[in-house]
């Protein structure tokens, strides 16, 4: 049974089309990741699906209810944590959760039971009695997540749930998202610009760019489409020369230039990396680095769009930098050998 369906869902802002005819079929109990760079249309899609924004065209239903014709029924069944924590800094955490529960029609005793349970997620301790304005960013995100869960929604929307969180808090959110899905069967649509997050959490991923859904599938399916292995050559000078030198190397399936790198796919990476190094040397191309790894979702994005997600939107917070590995995608590859 579909928890979320969308047909040609479109949103225009004046002449600008933010979401351009997106189709979605997300099954009950599924974690679906909408992956793309900033400005791809992820948040606009979520805002339409959760009834905050009217579509300009197309149709969609969530938890069996049309988002335009029956938005009240949709709101009863969804929980939403938006990209920016949507909190009132003047209330205490407890007051906010209490009001949230009341607005979802819960009785006082039900609200107390839910808050008592949700305290385990947010781990705010005595801070729950403090004004939200005094919370750190991480505490606010956790409280925001709790506010979206107070009424036990059937479908949970998480719009970039870990942006701005430190790595430890990020892992904790991942664990909690996984647990909500696994133990309660909650359907979760999460948007993210972090490849690692989509890979770790989502059963299926839709890659979105320029308002279009480009590809969709399980992370493994998508990565298999790219090839078995990826060799990344960091070169000095024009990448076009390197591409020409590599096209006819035995074992190479495809060669794509990207900034100052050349991305080579091959079925047998270990057997191909040697001939690649020789070919580059023979063409007098100075090689800065040569890396072998398994494909990432960024490679999928690169193949589909010709650009990388991370090159469009490099994380600017320090914890993201610490998460980034030495490959250009910022994603921890499944296996990696580097020649430097």
């Amino acid at each position: 049974m579909s928890a979320i369906t969308a047909r040609q869902l479109t949103r225009r802002f004046g002449d600008f089309t933010a979401v351009d005819g997106i189709d979605l079929d997300i099954q009950s109990g599924e974690i679906y990741g909408l992956l793309g760079p900033n400005g791809a249309g992820k948040s606009t899609t979520v805002r339409m699906l959760c009834t905050l924004l009217a579509p300009s065209g197309g149709s969609a239903s969530v938890a069996g209810h049309d988002i335009v014709k029956d938005p009240g029924a949709v709101r009863l069944r969804i929980g939403v944590a938006l990209q920016e924590a949507a909190l009132d800094p003047a209330q205490t955490g407890r007051q906010l959760l209490g009001l949230q529960g009341r607005l979802y029609g819960l009785s006082s005793s039900e609200v107390e039971r839910r808050i008592s349970d949700l305290e385990q997620i947010i781990e705010l301790g005595d801070a729950l009695e403090r004004r939200i304005g005094s919370y750190s960013g991480g505490m606010q995100r956790r409280l925001d997540l709790a506010a979206s869960l107070v009424h036990n929604p059937e479908v949970l929307f998480l719009d970039e749930p870990t942006t701005g969180l430190d790595p430890a808090s990020r892992i904790k959110v991942w664990e909690e998202v996984g647990r909500l899905n696994r133990e309660l069967g909650m359907t979760i649509l999460l948007t993210t610009q972090y490849l690692e997050e989509a890979d770790a959490l989502a059963g299926r991923v839709g890659i979105i760019d320029g308002g279009h859904k480009i590809v969709e599938g399980t992370p493994d399916e998508l990565k298999r489409k790219v090839g078995t292995d990826v060799i990344v050559a960091g070169v000095e000078g024009p990448t076009d020369d390197a591409c020409v030198a590599l096209r006819n190397v035995a074992g190479v399936e495809s060669v794509e230039p990207h900034a100052d790198e050349v991305v080579i796919t091959a079925n047998d990476g270990a057997g191909t990396i040697g001939p690649v190094a020789i070919a580059l040397d023979a063409a007098s191309i100075r090689v800065r680095s040569l890396t072998l790894r398994t494909p990432t979702l960024d490679d999928v994005f690169l193949e589909a769009t010709g650009s990388r997600i991370q090159s469009v939107d490099q994380p600017d917070d320090s914890e993201d930098v610490s998460l980034a590995t030495d490959d250009s995608s910022g994603q921890t590859p499944d296996s990696e050998e580097a020649f430097r």
């Binding site: 905050l52 709101r75 969804i78 938006l82 909190l87 607005l103 997620i121 009424h151 309660l184």
Partner: protein, 273 residues
């Protein structure tokens, strides 16, 4: 959905489901939140009362002797009390706090709940009525200390407070409209400036009989003129329906205008997302 014990909730708790809370319950919940915020936001409430006190006392000292000497039988303290009260309650609303909700995204959180959109606004406005009524009391108290007596009795005092609070609500609609339209706290706070022409182009300081020329014409078109006359009648003359009905109509006219703008702005914001 299977409900089992998890770290996110007990077996029992996980079976709790959302349901519509009802219009009254939703509105009261929003009003309660707005009222709880008032003690933390006294800087928005106390200055208007201070201004009202100040003008009340200064106006009596400045114009009292002059006017009472010109108009026979005029109790200038009772005459100027409604002016002071309108100064105190006009523009006092949770609209500046509401604009913060717009800015920090909390309005989105409210809009995501299954409550009616209008409950969000009405809840804030209900809180405004309570605050405005509460602000009226100390100014009335000062009036009593200065010798004002209500010819309409205690019921007249209550109607006086209700009219003042209703006016505050009617005028507050402009602030909410601006809050929703602009999302700008500065613009919302400047709403009070809108009241200046209403307050000064009327009988704030002298009776209508003392106005002449264009000012008398403008005062005749100004709804605040009828509101002031209605309020004054309760203190000075007792129950005068011919003065109270125009006061109520004036509130309704301004209220209809401001609420139309307000709800149009709410619809606009919701459609814009």
């Amino acid at each position: 959905m299977t409900a089992i014990t998890t770290t996110t909730g007990s077996n029992d708790s996980n079976t709790i489901r959302a349901r519509p809370g009802g219009f009254v319950s939703d509105t009261l919940a929003i009003a309660g939140r707005a009222l709880r915020a008032v003690p933390k936001d006294l800087e928005a409430v106390l200055p208007p009362v201070f201004i009202a006190f100040f003008f009340f006392v200064v106006n009596i000292a400045t114009f009292g002797g002059l006017t009472e000497g010109t108009v026979n039988g005029l109790d200038y303290t009772a005459f100027s009390m409604p002016t002071a009260i309108l100064l105190g309650v006009t523009g006092v609303s949770r609209a500046p706090a509401f604009v913060l909700d717009v800015q920090n995204g909390y309005l989105d959180r409210l809009l995501l709940t299954p409550i009616r959109r209008f409950s969000i606004l009405l809840g804030h406005m209900l809180a405004d009525v309570v605050v405005a009524a509460a602000l009226t009391v100390p100014i009335l108290g000062l009036g009593f200390i200065l010798g004002v007596r209500f010819e309409a009795g205690i019921a007249g005092v209550l109607v006086f407070i209700a009219l003042a609070a209703s006016w505050s609500l009617a005028f507050a609609g402009f602030g909410y409209a601006i809050a929703l339209k602009t999302g700008n706290p500065g613009a919302v706070q400047s709403t009070f400036l809108l009241f200046f022409p209403f307050l000064f182009l009327t009988t704030s300081y002298v009776p209508r009989s003392q106005l002449s020329g264009w000012l008398d014409t403008v005062a005749g078109l100004n709804p605040v003129t009828y509101l002031l006359e209605g309020l004054r009648s309760l203190a000075i003359e007792g129950w005068q329906l011919d003065q109270l009905v125009p006061a109520v109509v004036a509130i309704l006219v301004i209220g209809a205008l401001s609420m139309s703008m307000c709800f149009a702005a709410l619809r606009g914001r919701v459609s814009r997302g």
